[in-house]
Amino acid sequence: MASLGRPVVSVRTLRSGVLGAPMIGYLAYVGRRLAQFVLVVFIGINLAYVITHASPIDPVEQSISAVTSYGNTAPEAIEQMRTSLRELYGLGGSPVAQYLVFWKRILGVDFGPSMSAFPTPVSTLIGRALPWTAGLLVVSTIVAWGLGSLLGGLAGYYRNSRGLKLMGVIAMGLHPIPYYILALVLLIVFGFIWPVLPISGGSAMNLPQTLTFDFVISVLQHAILPALSLILIGVGSWFLGMRALVSNVVTEDYVVYAELAGVRPWRVLSSYVMRNALPPQLTGLAISLGGIFNGAVITEKVFGYPGVGSLLVDAVYAGDYGLVLGVTTVSILGVSIGVLVIDLLYPLLDPRIKVS
């Protein structure tokens, strides 16, 4: 049995250095993702800058006039607003100085006082609304993604199951429905036809916002309908995406081979099929995060949820320039951070990333 003339090659020789090749590969990957994160934030903020500066109208004077038309604001207050807005909008000084002041404000999370809720700073308003939106979006996104991927994976693997086929048809019909319509239908059904759930607000009005049992229950109750509308829309597209991925993965050699080798079906499904469809599905999640606000804004508006979506819409109606810019910036940051987190989790699912 000594017929093989060549010396034995160990895998260890493929790994080298103090850290080892995989570790270096991982760090290089993290570096690339961080650079991409910085680029997204940079381009996003610049887009906001260009859009506001390409406008033919002066948003500062327009905002001021919108506020003053409501009634008697103290002249000093108006001056303070004007200064803050001028700085934010940067109409004074050279173009370069304007651009730098803009960045200074943004990096300092300082958007000045809100005009519609004077003199509360914009950052305070956003800070108050952010946990509501973040909680709602994170939970509903994870539930929709997890549930959709699981069911879609099953549907792709058991292609002859009646129930899963039916689910596919429902998903196909549900997936293209605009958020607004679905939210409205839920509102009508659970608000008017069968009023069992609260249809407006983030918690019951009469409860103090402290961490009591009643408050938590109230928050959860109020979150059901907004979350349900986001989940119902989301599940459909994740279902379809995962089903398509899985029906491609099942034809891969390693799946066919495992089946031929008599590996148990549930093991083939979980460790071979689902496991290999998951990385691209996770990439899909990262790609979709940019669109997450579309749903959030509408849902929050329909259900009167006290998140940044409602804040944004009300700010536009009230002509609150600082607040609109603030929410836009925060949403760009929020989505970029979400994408970065997913990117950093990705190598856990796909070991190949470390070398490529």
Binding site: Y254, Y257, V263, P279, R352
Partner: protein, 343 residues
């Protein structure tokens, strides 16, 4: 050592362990109104003896892989077995794995019959370490404690000159040759009676090819498995096969002991294959075959080789020649050859 392995003659009277009888496996498709039947395997009979390496040769798309799929029971639409049977010494009464109940199939596969798939670059799960493949594939058959199992796997790897560290590696961390050798280790860990190997050396460089072939013959010697080796590469067959079957367009056209086939090829197609092998010191220019291999969706009637055959007669165009024994152990399907033998 290698030379010794190839010289060893298999016991001539050994019992068959795998019989294929008049097997027909077709692809049937119906898409956008176009119905097609591709007769990839169309009436093949042969037997593999215990402990031998039976080689199957033939150009690409002659139905070799489909034949293996039908034997291993990997029959799912659009592939269908439309006739004939496959019998194993360790599985009687069903006429093929594709007809056996799932419990039987689960018992047979890997324990008695294992398979080395073509293009082994992609047969290992890319997101899991090799250890898990061994556990998934072999642990249900071998059993015992996990630690015992691990010891057995490491011992098997050592026997095949592989370091235990491959178990901790992901497939992409291994070179192509290493991956192929790991796959072969995976296919042989349960010491199966029959190993079906589909192009195990294709796409490997020559040095690694030699290692892999050495591995296959030493497995045969150590474990006593029979190997059904499929490759288009006659050089590989010359190296390790004991007997050789030649396929053309979904049919077996000649079968004999390896040396006999190389010394005395009878079928015009086999003769063409053998004479077109390059030899050192030989500078005679070679004649190519006219025409191309037939489209299996619409094969020519009669002998499928007749449009390209230099010896074609009228009968070849309408009747299918049977496999007839011209000498002990030498079968050939050709009217021209069998007629002249009779005369």
């Amino acid at each position: 050592m290698l030379a010794e392995a190839t010289q060893a003659e298999p016991p001539e009277e050994a019992q068959p362990v795998l019989w294929v009888r008049d097997l027909k496996a077709h692809f049937r498709t119906d898409r956008f109104g176009i119905k097609r039947v591709v007769k990839a395997v169309d009436g093949i009979s042969f037997a593999v003896r215990r402990g031998e390496i039976y080689g199957l040769a033939g150009e690409s798309s002659s139905g070799k892989t489909t034949l293996l799929k039908a034997i291993v029971g990997a029959v799912r639409p659009p592939l269908e077995v439309v006739g004939g049977q496959v019998d194993f010494a360790f599985l009687a009464g069903y006429g093929g794995l594709h007809r056996a109940p799932p419990a039987e199939v689960a018992r047979i596969r890997w324990r008695h019959l294992s398979y080395i798939m073509q293009g082994s670059m992609n047969v290992l799960n890319p997101v899991r370490r090799l250890r898990s493949a061994f556990v998934d594939f072999a642990y249900p058959h071998i059993g015992g404690s996990r630690r015992q199992f691990e010891r057995e796997v490491v011992a098997h790897l050592a026997r095949l000159k592989l370091d235990a560290s491959v178990l901790a590696a992901y497939p992409h961390e291994l070179s192509g040759g290493m991956r192929q050798r790991a796959t072969i280790a995976l296919a042989t860990i349960c010491r199966p009676d029959v190993i079906l190997a589909d192009e195990p050396t294709t796409a490997l460089d020559v040095v690694v090819q030699k290692e892999v072939l050495g591995m296959i013959s030493s497995i045969r010697r150590e474990i006593g498995s029979s190997v059904l080796l499929v490759t288009h590469d006659l050089g590989v067959h010359a190296h390790v096969s004991d007997r050789l079957g030649i396929m053309y367009a979904g049919r077996l056209i000649e079968e004999a002991a390896k040396v006999e086939i190389f010394r005395n090829p009878l079928h015009p197609y086999t003769r063409h294959l053998i004479t077109s092998l390059p030899r050192i010191g030989d500078d005679v220019s070679r004649e190519g075959l006219v025409g191309a291999p037939p489209n299996l969706a619409d094969p020519p009637p009669g002998c499928r080789f007749h449009p390209r055959c230099p010896l074609a007669m009228e009968i070849c165009k309408c009747e299918v020649p049977a496999m007839l024994e011209t000498a002990p152990g030498h079968r050939v399907a050709c009217f021209a050859v069998n007629r002249s033998e009779e005369a």
